[in-house]
């Protein structure tokens, strides 16, 4: 348990980050987009410098994954990854204000097969979507919500001040966010039956034994949620991976991969493992293309 001084320091740190975020968000209303993105890049770089333990996690992950050849390369990519995360927050705020059903294709290129596009445009067709912390995952959801209703399951931020502030006005008429702590499979099934596309992040460590499966990601075993595979197996809804890579200033390419086909074996554990590994492989392929946009600074490979 954290002692009083540690709790006080943690609260102070949360307030400092909240203050920086408020400053950045206030600036988005008046400053040019280019300036704002450069400013948030600088904040990301600053955090990489002043949080060496967090930076170390990113550097170690990059080296262990074989994405960076040496310490210097890992630090260079790690710093860019922190900038990418910082930029993601600013982009998300800008996107809320500026991306509309009329102009979203000015910001987003949708990379999908004709079959995926047909499913996306079928108003009755729900789908299960796996996503990951790459590029701008909120823009990915917002872009798809311009075509059809999207419900996103998310993990609330550890910083309660940022969480409250960023969550107000986060959704849209076709975009809904559901805290993972208020989520239930029955609710998800109803959303899918109503034609929603249900998006869940599958690249975070899961500690609850009944809810996880062990897959390989960048050649190393890690615990991953079973929920996406189980939702697909139970509902037979089409299964996709969706990731939005940043290609320029407020420009994104949404990789909508799928529908991912899987022959069920009749063995639940085997099917869950097979599907979750396939989804993870797709995420790894895209993360290798944009390594500086993946969130390396979290403990993905915990035991």
């Amino acid at each position: 348990m954290l002692g009083e001084p540690t709790l006080a320091l943690k609260k102070l740190w949360h307030l400092i980050l909240f203050g920086l975020a408020r400053l950045a968000l206030a600036l988005t209303a008046v400053a040019p987009v280019g300036f704002m993105l450069a400013f948030t890049d600088a904040i990301g770089s600053l955090i990489f410098t002043i949080l060496p333990s967090r930076a170390r996690i990113a550097v170690d992950n990059l080296l262990a994954a074989g994405v960076a050849a040496d310490e210097a390369a890992a630090r260079r990519i790690g710093r860019k990854c922190f900038q990418s995360f910082s930029r993601m927050i600013t982009e998300t705020v800008i996107a809320r204000e500026r991306i509309t059903p009329e102009n979203w294709t000015d910001f987003v290129t949708l990379d999908a097969t004709p079959e995926a596009l047909a499913l996306l445009r079928d108003p009755q067709q729900g789908a299960v979507v796996a996503s990951a912390h790459l590029g701008n995952w909120e823009v990915a959801a917002r872009a798809v919500s311009m075509i059809r209703p999207v419900s996103v399951v998310y993990r609330p931020m550890n910083n309660p001040y940022l969480e409250r502030h960023l969550n107000s006005g986060r959704g849209g008429s076709n975009l809904h966010f559901i805290s993972k702590y208020k989520a239930s499979p029955l609710r998800f099934m109803k959303l899918l039956a109503e034609g929603n596309w249900l998006a869940l992040m599958i690249d975070q460590h899961i500690s609850e034994p009944g809810e996880r499966v062990r897959v390989n990601f960048f050649g190393r075993p890690c615990w991953t949620t079973r929920s996406v595979a189980m939702m697909h197996l139970t509902t037979r809804m089409p299964l996709f991976v969706a990731l939005a890579a940043r290609t320029g200033q407020m420009k994104f390419r949404v990789h909508l991969l799928g529908p991912i086909q899987f022959q069920r074996s009749g063995n639940r554990d085997q099917d869950v493992l097979g599907i979750t590994q396939s989804l993870t492989d797709e995420i790894e392929k895209i993360a290798r293309r944009y390594p500086e946009q993946y969130l390396w600074g979290h403990r993905r490979w915990k035991e």
Binding site: L186, M189, K190, A193, E211, S227, R236
Partner: protein, 83 residues
């Protein structure tokens, strides 16, 4: 298969589930599905196991309408009768 046999098989499936934390002995036809004792995704495991064990294919639009065990038994009985 009788209704009693269907319920007995459903209870047996739940007892085999390591993730199920509810009390199987308290389950009867009037038991609400959301009060059976499922935590998180164990209800999805249960539905997968029902399909495999009863050799039927369920539809999500039908599953979300079910309120209690009676609805589930009715549904399975009609699926099995159609075989």
């Amino acid at each position: 298969m009788t209704r009693e046999q269907i319920i007995a098989r459903l209870k047996a499936l739940l007892q085999k589930q390591t993730e199920f934390k509810g009390d199987v002995s308290t389950i009867h036809e009037a038991t609400k599905i959301d009060q059976m004792g499922f935590d998180s995704i164990s209800i999805l495991d249960f539905m997968y196991d029902i399909e495999a064990d009863f050799n039927v294919q369920t539809e999500v639009a039908d599953l979300v309408k079910m309120q209690n065990v009676k609805d589930l038994v009715d549904y399975l009985a009609s699926k099995l009768a159609a075989h």
